[in-house]
């Protein structure tokens, strides 16, 4: 596979990691780098990358897994839609999210119509094929997924499809980063910025944040070479007392991002304040359908209500999402909470921090 194998070259990875370890030595102190994206967390786990660095490097996972950052109140509306007899179309990650001892998987085994889709276009095709059914798409994800849903909504409108609606649980990354960096207790020394999100939004949205908080940041791809190289770049900035946004993933991420995707997103959605698990309410960090697309809003149309549930005793998902605790500090981790019996959402998705740690036996 071109563009993959060369980025997994063990010798190159070890050579770059060696340079990073020299920089760590020169810094002579503990360094905490946050990987914002869940796919980075998984890649670090999958390739065993932590084992390549000195112990003075601490890699913490941030709020980069869509399922993990969504609060229970968001999930409650999805459950309500299924219970009201709507056909719920969702990404597979959502199927095992636990809520009050139930999940979409158990709802399906009780006979409710819950279907896994791989793209919102699948939901569109189903809605077109079964016009008598009312479909509800679960809109979950960051800037990487919302443009696809925007394009689906636009297609629905132009093709006159009126039996497909959306629960928008979308989140935006830059506002969450600002909030994290304002927290006094986290003491993050550097940021590994998400490659996929940056492919859409480009480099600019991070510049102001990085300047304000004087923190080194590197937009990073997802292969081992990308990740160790960006760690080296962050450490180099620290050694040289620089703090800027650098782009390691330049083979994919352009300065201006994907202008067309951003335009689609803006046409259909508007930013709204949004509740994050572990981070609370963040100004302008969510997306809601614009007025002219209101008829596609499942929340409004079906009167879905965000219901907060008491979090399971002992669950540290909120702390794990903001990077203040590690999965193995949770008393449920690996015992009661496992990928086939998740108690909190961080154990559900393949991008969830707890699932990634579990998967790599950490």
């Amino acid at each position: 596979m071109r563009f993959i194998q060369e980025y997994r070259d063990g010798e190159l990875v070890r050579r770059i990691a060696g340079k990073a370890n020299e920089l760590l030595e020169r810094l002579g102190r503990g360094v905490k780098i946050m990987e914002v994206c869940g796919t980075h967390t998984m890649a670090i786990a999958r390739h065993g990358l932590k084992s390549l660095f000195k112990d003075s490097l601490d890699l913490v996972s941030g709020p980069g897994c869509p399922v993990c950052v969504t609060p229970d109140s968001g999930f409650s509306m999805v459950f309500q839609a299924a219970e009201a007899g709507k056909t719920v179309a969702t990404f597979g990650d959502m199927m095992r999210v636990p809520l009050n001892g139930r999940s979409l998987t158990t709802l399906r085994s009780e006979g409710l119509d819950v279907r896994v889709v791989y793209s919102p276009y699948d939901a569109l095709r189903m809605a077109e094929k079964e016009p008598r059914k009312e479909f509800v798409m679960v809109g979950i994800g960051f800037e990487t997924t919302s443009p696809l849903f925007a394009s689906t909504i636009l297609q629905c409108r132009s093709r006159g499809i009126s039996n497909l609606r959306l629960i928008s649980l979308f989140k935006l990354i830059p506002p969450a980063l600002s909030k994290l960096l304002e927290a006094k207790d986290l003491k993050i020394d550097g940021l590994m910025l998400p490659g996929h999100v940056s492919t859409i939004i480009g480099v600019r949205p991070y510049v102001e944040i990085v300047e304000k908080h004087s923190i080194p940041a590197v937009i990073t791809g997802f292969e081992p070479v990308d990740i160790v190289e960006s760690i080296r770049m962050i450490l180099k900035q620290l050694v040289e007392n620089r703090s800027e946004v650098e782009n390691e993933y330049s083979r994919t991420v352009r300065q201006e991002g994907n202008v067309k995707a951003v335009r689609l997103m803006r046409e259909v959605f508007k930013p709204v304040d949004s509740e994050w698990r572990g981070l609370g309410l963040i100004e302008g960090s969510g997306l809601a359908l614009r007025e002219e697309f209101r008829s596609f809003d499942a929340v409004e149309e079906y009167g879905l209500k965000p219901v907060e549930t008491a979090k399971p005793a002992g669950c540290l998902c909120g702390e794990v999402v903001r990077g203040s605790r590690k999965p193995f500090e949770c008393s449920l981790y690996r015992k009661a909470c496992r990928p086939d019996n998740p108690i909190g959402p961080c154990m559900v998705s393949s991008e969830g921090t707890c699932a990634a740690y579990f998967y790599a036996g950490m």
Partner: protein
């Protein structure tokens, strides 16, 4: 108990093992949680196994449910160190199934049986109303004669053993994923479904000492290695670089965010043999068409009370490789 059965109960991971253990204990079966049995009869040891086959869709590139229902049972017998002899065949057919399709499946059952050197000697057919099953479900059971000089068991892997896999992993699982059409991906992935009979014959003929044989079906290579590690109380170390994965399989897995080490194979065998036999075993296996890509992928590196599997990654890192938990979920972004 008291809940409901969910799909994960059949996915090959921890939930399935727990369910099987629960069923076995209620049946008061002496050999708990094991899907096969060896017993002594006059003139030698006999291996006996049964399996049910559901496949969605029932035909994928390189395999259909008929071929799978023969090879699945044959291969279970092979992992017991047996030469498969006789099979039973029971069909549960959904009302409305096209006869031509049924005969096509029967044709591949017949071909697969001939290739594996087994005879189908008894069977049964039931038809259920539409919706009572999904097109066709097949159950086969099989008996075979255990080779006299072989004693293999998942309990029997020992420190110092080499770990050999007879070909690329994840092909069948990837072919099924691709054929489901849910992803609309074009790919050439083809199932590895095949009988392992000749592979075992070759190893026996070459007098390779065998400690453990396991076929990495549901849950894939990672789960099988964990089963052996836990049963034999050993630590197994495998090298990612040496594990053969076809390019088209790894491409598909990259797109879907799935690890090929957790995708099932239906024509591969994982062999634990003392290191001194490893080279000879790989050499003789490579002469066979069905194991021409056989590879030494790792070793049993020590004892471990809980059973550990460690993966040396291609990137030069080390991590633990746990067993499958739940159904692998494609990612969001």
């Amino acid at each position: 108990m008291g809940g409901r059965i969910i799909l994960e109960h059949g996915a090959g991971g921890r939930l399935m093992h727990e369910l099987i253990r629960e069923i076995s204990s209620r049946l008061k079966t002496p050999s708990r949680g094991v899907d096969k049995a060896v017993f002594k009869m006059q003139g030698g040891r006999v291996a006996f196994t049964a399996d049910s086959f559901v496949m969605k869709p029932p035909v994928v590139k390189g395999c259909d449910i008929g071929m799978l229902s023969v090879n699945g049972t044959v291969n279970d017998l092979v992992t017991m160190g047996a030469n498969p002899k006789y099979l039973s065949l029971s069909l549960i057919i959904e009302e409305g199934l096209e006869e031509d399709f049924l005969m096509r499946i029967i044709g591949s059952i017949s071909d697969a049986a001939e290739r594996a050197g087994v005879k189908i000697v008894t069977g049964d057919v039931k038809v259920v109303e539409k919706g009572g099953c999904d097109k066709i479900f097949i159950n086969t059971s099989g008996v075979g004669r255990v080779y006299s000089n072989i004693r293999v068991s998942t309990l029997n892997a020992k420190p110092g053993d080499a770990v050999i896999v007879t070909g690329s992993v994840g092909d069948h699982g990837a072919a099924v994923l691709a054929a489901r059409g849910e992803f609309q991906l074009e790919t050439d992935v083809s199932s590895d479904c095949a009988s392992l009979t000749r592979i075992l014959e070759t190893l026996v003929r070459r007098r390779i000492i065998l400690h453990t044989l396991i076929d990495p079906t549901r849950g894939g290579l990672a789960t099988s290695l964990n089963e052996v590690a836990a049963s034999s109380k050993v630590e197994i170390e495998v090298e990612e670089e040496k594990i053969p994965v076809k390019e088209e399989v790894s491409s598909l897995c990259e797109i879907l965010g799935i690890d090929p080490l957790y995708l099932g194979c239906e024509g591969r065998l994982v062999i634990f043999t003392p290191l001194r036999y490893a080279e000879e075993a790989v050499k003789s296996l490579r002469r066979l068409e069905e194991s021409k890509d056989a590879c030494l992928i790792g070793r049993v590196s020590g004892r471990s009370r809980t059973g550990e599997v460690r993966l040396l990654t291609r990137a030069g890192g080390v991590r633990s490789l746990p067993m499958l938990h739940g159904i692998p979920l494609p990612r969001i972004c």
